[in-house]
Symmetry: C2
Subunit: 405 residues, 2 copies
């Protein structure tokens, strides 16, 4: 008998038929002897509709009221799912964030979970009842509904699993696991049986939208065994586990890409202390996230060129900020390019193996792909290339690191 | 300065534009110096959609989960309305049933309000904030969401007004007040400035769907001054008040009709003690509401005929129940007629004036309309007639009692 938290996202509960299919699936787990707690998202499309209402009625709306409105989507699903389970013969009860309660701070619309009261949940689970917990929401210190930010139901699931000391947290999605790369680009992509938390985090941060980054961080910190699996097929998915659980680690676990990037280059920036702060301070104040940064060695000695990337959606704002601070920064010219792609190779194995980066550079060079910017972390090497070469680069790298099935 | 509770129903908050129009209207009241608490319903159509989900996912669904699901409609409106008020420059805050809390019993889906904690609401209203209260819902003794039954937002508004000791409770609807009769049938129908609680109750019970009956009962008991007025036009509506406030009472306040009736006649029923219980006991057990009952004097001495009316939607079920109990009841034949209409004249003045009923019977006789069943209460005379004569009867009675404008 295992204690398992199962989380079903919006596409898994998109309509009544799918809610009933989830109930049937949960019933099988209960019949097999597991103690199950469910976490559910809003039915697909519902949250977008509610957010749209909020934006239209008041562009600068009160985040407290936003939370009151958007948290209702998960409440509806939790009630309907409890009914579907009861109909299938499984004892079940819905739980909204304030009922458990899931205590959060008061950072409305992006609240952090502070603690979860589990005594009543444990008592009922031990008696065979399945709690159906509305994801994405909690109760703030002033007795008001809070929400955790988009994708927050993953975080709810992990936090509930940690609080319950669950054996496993299953995240059901519309993909059946984590792949070595995007199967739509590389036919030979393989589903991974296991991946480390660190690798999953790097993957999430570079565009593999399987799990919300925060939920992976929390699982890593709380040592919750995560499984990503399909809500439509009944087969094992990918386990996200601590590094020591993976005995034979491949050098590289995956190749990812992100087309959400744009490159900005400032030419002839004064080469003096404080100039980087002069550029990135104002961008940070404008809440623009800067990813890769490269400063070339100054050829003339008194000026240099500075290149960085921002989210493509932020490009126009970033250029306005740079222009507004032209005087303080001091630069000759700005060039922007939205036609770029960031391609990354990720693997904890690279900590102990040299030559990972050089394999990447050589492989891309052989295909005639120019590398515009390079950035590395302990377990990731990323390069910025011309967007047009994305598929070619990903396919070549997948083969070069021996990932092809 | 007055303390006023204002309730806006589903059509008044049907979309974002109407919500903004309500906010503008509330702002005018606040600017004029009133302390206002709002009660809002779900946006038109939302509750039906949620109820439909519940029925489809589980025909015999758990009422606790039904309440969790359907109460979300009002939560959405309360958050959006608070935003709209803030946008209009009015301090506002949404309040769900559990947050106030509005304590109810545990009769899920038809709960009764037991008490409302108002200290915090009063404090905020005194500081100029408008509480936007989600109607129709409360908090049960087991910390679960309850709902008050359809139309329950009217009851929420009256209960909040009573708890606050409000000077007035304004119920905004899609009509601009209570009329002497249906203006669609009688062009000369007049809007009443005032009507007594008792009359309003009788009107509600015979088809004038302006206010939920329970809310009027509660207002009468708690002596809350009610006003029914238009949410689309800015003019006074009809006040529902204690009888002593109406100095010059007309004999009759209104003529109403209901086409929701069906007539059932049992021929040759044994004329012995207990036979009425034998008929109406099983109907009550089947939750079928019986309205008018007439037992004719027995001509032969040993059998009699029994006629009664049920809701038209219940007719088939009523006939099944009667058939199933044929043995115990003992009757010769059953006749059913769904082509009937109940026409009523209502007025507290009839308590002290004779001749009201005879005016009714004479007026109908002059038009050649046959009266099938008669029933009377202290302030109402109802007759059952052939449905085809409805408009003729209503128009004739409206003139006969001097109600024409």
């Amino acid at each position: 008998m295992a204690v398992v938290v199962k989380k079903f996202g919006g596409t898994s509960v998109a309509d009544l038929e799918r809610i009933q299919a989830v109930a049937a699936r949960v019933k099988r787990a209960v019949d097999a002897g597991d103690q199950v707690a469910l976490v559910v998202s809003a039915m697909a499309g519902v949250t977008n509709q509610l957010v749209d209402y909020c934006v239209k009625i008041s562009p600068l709306h009160d985040a407290r009221e936003y939370d009151t409105v958007v948290a209702t989507g998960e409440a509806v699903t939790s009630g309907l799912m409890a009914m579907a389970l009861q109909q299938a013969g499984v004892a079940a009860r819905s739980w909204l964030g304030w009922q458990i309660p899931i205590h959060t701070d008061d950072a409305h619309s992006r609240a952090r979970i502070l603690g979860i009261e589990t005594a009543e949940l444990r008592r009922r689970m031990a008696a065979g009842e399945v709690p159906v917990i509305a994801g994405f929401q909690g109760l703030g210190p002033d007795n008001r509904v809070t929400t955790l930010g988009r994708g927050g139901s993953d975080t709810t699931a992990v936090a509930v699993a940690a609080a319950l000391g669950a054996d496993r947290c299953d995240i059901y999605t519309d993909v059946d696991g984590v792949y070595t790369t995007d199967p739509r680009i590389v036919a030979k992509a393989r589903k991974l049986d296991k991946i480390t938390f660190e690798e999953m985090l790097e993957m999430a941060s570079v565009g593999a939208k399987v799990l919300q980054t925060r939920s992976v961080e929390l699982a890593m910190k709380q040592r919750v065994r995560l499984q990503v699996l399909s809500s439509f097929e009944d087969k094992p998915g990918t386990f996200v586990v601590p590094e020591e659980e993976i005995v034979e680690q491949e050098l590289i676990s995956g190749v990812t890409y992100s087309r959400d990037e744009a490159k900005v280059t400032l030419l002839r920036v004064a080469d003096r202390p404080g100039v980087a702060a002069g550029i990135f301070g104002p961008l940070a104040e404008a809440n623009i996230n800067v990813d890769m940064i490269v400063q070339n060695v100054s050829p003339q000695g008194d000026t240099t060129d500075m290149t960085f990337t921002v989210g493509r959606a932020d490009l126009e704002r970033a250029l306005s900020v740079i222009e507004a601070h032209r005087g303080e920064i001091g630069y000759g010219e700005v060039r922007a390019d939205a036609g770029v792609c960031k391609v990354s190779v990720i693997g904890v194995g690279m900590r102990s193996h040299a030559g990972i980066a050089s394999t990447m550079f050589r492989t891309l060079a052989e295909k005639g792909i120019n590398i515009q910017v390079i950035s590395t972390s302990e377990i990731k090497v990323s390069v910025l290339i011309d967007d047009a070469y994305t598929e070619l680069a990903v396919r070549a790298l997948h083969g070069a690191y021996g990932l092809d099935a």
